[in-house]
């Protein structure tokens, strides 16, 4: 199964995960300092900054795009509850 390596920069931990894993599944277990709200892509609470490897993330859905826009998120922000890692090396600011 293809793997992705997700590095949590503040924690200094890299987690090797199966492709297709959502960021929230990893961030919750690793103890990252992220707050979660609805977990369904609507509230924007779990916005997370991707510092590298955005090309290895799933495309933003229409819903995620809208929520990110509403929250004035930057180009490198994603919703942890929506974004899936598809492979390669990804770093997040958490």
């Amino acid at each position: 199964m293809p793997k992705a390596n997700v590095t949590f920069e503040k924690l200094g931990i890299t987690v090797s995960v199966p492709a297709g894993t959502r960021l929230i599944e990893i961030s919750e277990k690793v103890g990252a300092s992220i707050t979660y709200g609805c977990r369904e892509g609507e509230c924007g609470t779990c916005i997370m900054k991707i510092t590298s490897g955005m090309e290895y993330m799933s495309e933003r859905s229409v819903l995620e795009n809208q929520v990110l826009q509403d929250n004035m998120a930057g180009r490198n922000d994603r919703l942890a509850c929506q974004a899936q890692v598809l492979g390669g090396d990804i770093s997040v600011k958490a």
């Binding site: 890299t14 987690v15 995960v17 990252a32």
Partner: protein, 423 residues
């Protein structure tokens, strides 16, 4: 107390045109005041225009307009500056802009969305300003200083250069109502100044230090804040006081590179206390970490909040009683809104009789406050066994290793992660 609606000259050509609210006892739900507050607004007359700096709460608009009309006609107003968009300063803005439609509105970039949400007028025109930008009134110049998060994202200060007056918004302000207005004439307001800082500015201490770098070099004859007395006597002392209040003190006590880990516990039968001791001993095995152990039963939360503000990590030990952590723990955790805790390290442990929910609940709260909780907490049924105390020892040790950065750059698999988190 003077009640006449007089504009008050603070320096030649510059007037206070704000409003007094002496009956207010509770501000924004969270702040108490023993003698009300003022909503300070100012009018600056230049050779080629008149500026209004900030407005007042909507309920006090009549007072504001009455004072404004004594010192300027509406068609003379060329400039309106809002240093901060909170409703107590922007409340009279829509009506002011209706009466002075030719006036240009100057706000910070971060204020844009707040303005739209507060005024609800899509046609509203405004100009964004940042540090270094100026607006001329002919022989007088307003210079802007962006001071974000003092105490909202939008906050800025405005300097009247020629008179060296700093219109500081909520910075250096306080909730204290005294019609004598000036700091050398009003009653003793020192506690109000300190209280305001502690509740309004303190959560943004790092931003205060950044803003002071901008403001400290200025020569200031007078500070005109948006609440409370106008600071014309020794204005610099208030700037210096902010520097003192915002500067970290812990580095004086421990090594500059040492980390501080605080362990708080409360215990009914001594079981959680034993666990706390083990966590402490585990953490102490790691060099470069100063470990402190506190029993929450011994005191209120106030001094603990001060300690947490400067600590690098906190570990909370609580028994589970009726499916919950105990009240002193929640009292402490609900008191942290006045300080910045995000990105500190957190952890939890505790003894329980039946169920042991407290540990997960504390961890959730710590994560909710944006602390990192990298090590799963330890639960022990009733009297902790040697093996459970060993796990507490390891919890302390692991947290200390995280603090010192010794565990950085670890690589683990998802399955290891899942196994650890289900312990």
């Amino acid at each position: 107390m003077k009640t006449a609606l007089e504009a008050v000259e603070i320096t030649p050509g510059t007037h206070w045109i704000g409003a007094l609210d002496p009956g207010l006892r509770e501000f924004d739900i969270i702040l108490k005041t023993a003698n009300g507050t003022t909503y300070n607004s100012y009018c600056v007359r230049g050779s080629q225009g008149v500026a209004v700096i900030d407005t007042v709460k909507a309920s006090h608009s009549d007072e504001f307009f009455a004072r404004l009309e004594q010192v300027a006609r509406y068609d003379e107003i060329s400039t309106i500056v809002l240093n901060h968009l909170e409703p107590d300063h922007s409340g009279a803005l829509p009506e002011l802009m209706r009466r002075a439609p030719q006036a240009k509105l100057y706000i910070s970039a971060k204020a844009q969305l707040m303005l739209k949400a507060l005024v609800r007028d899509s046609e509203l025109d405004f100009t964004i300003v940042q540090t270094g930008d100026t607006v001329t009134l002919g022989d007088r110049t307003l210079r802007f200083f962006s001071t974000p998060f003092l105490h909202w994202p939008d906050t800025q200060c405005t300097l009247l250069e020629e008179q060296q007056i700093l219109f500081s918004g909520d910075v250096f302000g306080c909730h204290f109502c005294d019609a004598r207005l000036f700091n050398d004439r009003v009653g003793d307001f020192r506690f109000s100044f300190e209280y305001y800082y502690q509740h309004i500015m303190r959560p943004f201490r790092e931003h205060v230090l950044v803003a002071l770098e901008l403001l400290e070099p200025l020569t200031l004859k007078l500070i005109a804040p948006a609440h409370g007395p106008i600071l014309r006597e020794a204005p610099r002392s208030y700037v210096q006081r902010y520097r003192q209040l915002a500067s970290p003190l812990l580095p004086n006590e421990i090594g500059a590179h040492d980390k501080s880990l605080l362990i708080f516990y409360i215990s009914s039968y001594g079981n959680t206390a034993r666990m706390a001791q083990a966590v402490s001993e585990g953490a102490e095995t790691i060099a470069g970490v100063r470990v402190s152990l506190y029993d929450l039963q011994a005191g209120g939360d106030l001094p603990f909040v001060d300690l947490i503000e400067e600590a690098d990590g906190i570990v909370i030990g609580s028994p589970t009683i009726n499916g919950d952590a105990v009240k002193p723990v929640w009292d402490l955790l609900s008191s942290l809104a006045v300080i910045k805790v995000s990105d500190k390290l957190g952890g939890a442990f505790g003894s329980y009789g039946w169920s042991g929910e407290a540990i997960n609940m504390i961890e959730d709260r710590l994560r909710g406050l944006k602390l990192r909780v990298p090590v799963k907490g330890v639960r022990a049924r009733l009297i902790p066994a040697a093996e459970e105390l060993e796990r507490c020892h390891d919890l302390g040790r692991q947290l200390a290793l995280h603090l010192t950065g010794s565990l950085a750059n670890r690589v683990i698999s998802m399955s290891e992660l899942l196994a650890n988190s289900h312990e």
